[in-house]
Amino acid sequence: MTIALETRGLEKSFGGLRATRDLSLKVMQGARHALIGPNGAGKTTVINQLTGVLAPNRGRILLEGSDITGLAVHKRVLRGLSRTFQINQLYADLTPLETIGLAVSERMGRGGDWWRRMGTRSDVNAEIAEILSRFHLLDVMTELTSTLPYGKQRLLEIAVAIAARPRVLLLDEPAAGVPESERHDILAAVAALPRDVTVLLIEHDMDLVFSFADRISVLVNGGLLTEGAPDEVARDPQVRAVYLGEAADA
């Protein structure tokens, strides 16, 4: 099996705090890989380095074998690495239609077109329609994003990432803050992600992790504690001590 995403000896410090310690991670093609760890373990720092928001102090990041460590954020997206955010990062003044339309246009290399009006390319429209219907957003597509219910915004957050048609998708706590009544839609959307998309899930919610992941890496204090299949990780006494024990207390 080929490796979709890999880090080698990743290091990141903020002042005296070592947020990422010598992290070497391999995510296999087509995997449903979860990265878990207690609060402050450095999960989001890892994501930010993978996507290019933060530059690591040391180490390398490889996407499908090629080094992307120094690549700008938008270029990684065009290479097939896309993400969702733990806290919604959407366009408040744009509609879901415009949001998805923009993402699709950019992916097709049409985002810089300044002469052609939106909505005049039928291939773009077809894909917008497909994505909006897949994420149950057709009925609200002309409403401003800021006015949508939180669950819909959360779906849009995932839909935007998918519109970039990634080969590797980073899901940063997709169900965070979603009320119980709308949770099902999110979980269904996550479960229905195309199998050929490699997914790295960063999650707090153990139910979601164990129902979704086929491989789990446990991050503690910025370093890798252990890694393995879900049942191995669940049995690991170290993990139970630092992580599951804590979760059980909470």
Binding site: L102, G111, S122, N125
Partner: protein, 343 residues
């Protein structure tokens, strides 16, 4: 309706011409014919409107604040003046485009300073660049005429056909046509994927980059485009007044422009035009009441706008026109929408 046809209809909806827009331009043209004694002030308004449209492109769409937009206005003004004075390009339309391009080049070069940093940095950098240019224009007085400005500019007929007359009639129609053409172009651009990506960047640069938008490149492009527009506005100023002096770079010019957009609103293209009309009319009104203290009244109006909220004022102003239109055209018709309600 299928999802696809639904999507394409809605995707194109925002770019469709509304009746209110057509009415706006018909009204503008009608004014040009109805008030032959007011050509000069109307030309002034058109120029300011074009200048404000330029700032709206970067402020309203890309979210770049500027306190030094007069830099490009000034460069356009002096370029047009020098081209005409030395007989380099005699035909006004070609000279106009050339002056705009000079401003665009300056916009491109300075954009690298402006796109870095946050709002406050941008305010200071843009302000600094305008002050710098003003000082340079004063220093190199052998080229610019220093504090006297460029003297003895003689404008040739437009396209070799329409001579500038002393009443300013040619100047007004010329400015109006230039404004309309550039407006159409801007309208096209803001409804394109490029234009939408600017709004995405203003809304959330983090996410914009995360869907593959090259944020910096887009900002550089729109900044240069806005500089082109401002340069054209400046060149129009020189061509219609046969004058270019240091005050084209002045801080007041940049600051007034902000006021125009505060009055008219940003991000729907008409804000600069409506703002320019209101601003100039207020200026005229207050100057005729109290020649010395008109700035006091402008200041008061500003405070009121900010406190009451522009959207609310727009709704009050449009209440009567909308009422009349609805009598004729049914409940759902509206002559104009306040900017907040416009899609």
């Amino acid at each position: 309706m299928t999802a696809l046809s639904d999507v394409s209809t809605h995707a194109m909806a925002s770019a469709r011409w509304r009746i209110s827009e057509v009415a706006f331009w018909v009204l503008a043209l009608a004014c040009a014919f109805l008030f032959p004694s007011r050509y000069l002030i109307m030309t002034d308004i058109v120029r300011l409107g074009l200048f404000a449209l330029s700032l709206d492109l970067i402020l309203g769409y890309a979210g770049i604040v500027s306190l030094g937009h007069a830099a490009f206005f000034g460069v356009g003004a002096y370029s047009a003046g020098l081209l005409a004075l030395h007989g380099i390009i005699n035909e006004p339309v070609i000279a106009l485009v050339a002056a705009g391009l000079v401003a665009a080049v300056l916009g491109f070069l300075t954009s690298f300073l402006v796109i870095r940093g946050v709002d406050l940095t941008r305010l200071m950098v843009t302000l600094g660049i305008a002050l710098l240019l003003e000082a340079l224009a004063e220093r190199f007085s052998d080229i610019t005429g220093g504090t006297d400005g460029l003297q003895g500019i003689e404008m040739q007929p437009i396209l070799g056909l329409f001579a500038f007359d002393m009443f300013g009639k040619t100047g007004l129609f010329y400015s109006l046509i230039v404004l309309f053409i550039l407006f159409l172009f801007a309208r096209r651009v803001v409804h394109s994927p490029f234009g939408l990506s600017l709004r995405a960047i203003r809304n959330n640069p983090l996410r914009a980059a995360a869907i593959g938008i090259p944020v910096n490149r887009r900002l550089i492009a729109v900044y240069a485009l806005a500089a082109f527009y401002a340069g054209i506005a400046g060149a129009l100023f020189t061509q219609t007044t046969a004058l270019a002096s240091l005050d084209v770079f002045s801080f007041e010019r940049s600051a007034d422009l902000m006021l125009v957009l505060v009055i008219g609103g940003t991000g729907y293209l008409y804000g600069g035009l409506i703002g320019a009309v209101v601003f100039k009319m207020l200026q005229e009104l207050f100057q005729s009441i109290t020649p010395q203290y008109w700035l006091f009244w402008i200041g008061l109006v500003l405070v009121v706008i900010v406190m009451v909220g522009r959207a609310r004022i727009h709704r009050w102003v449009l209440f009567v026109p909308n009422l009349i239109i609805r009598q004729f055209a049914g409940r759902r018709a509206a002559v104009a929408m306040p900017e907040g309600d416009a899609p």
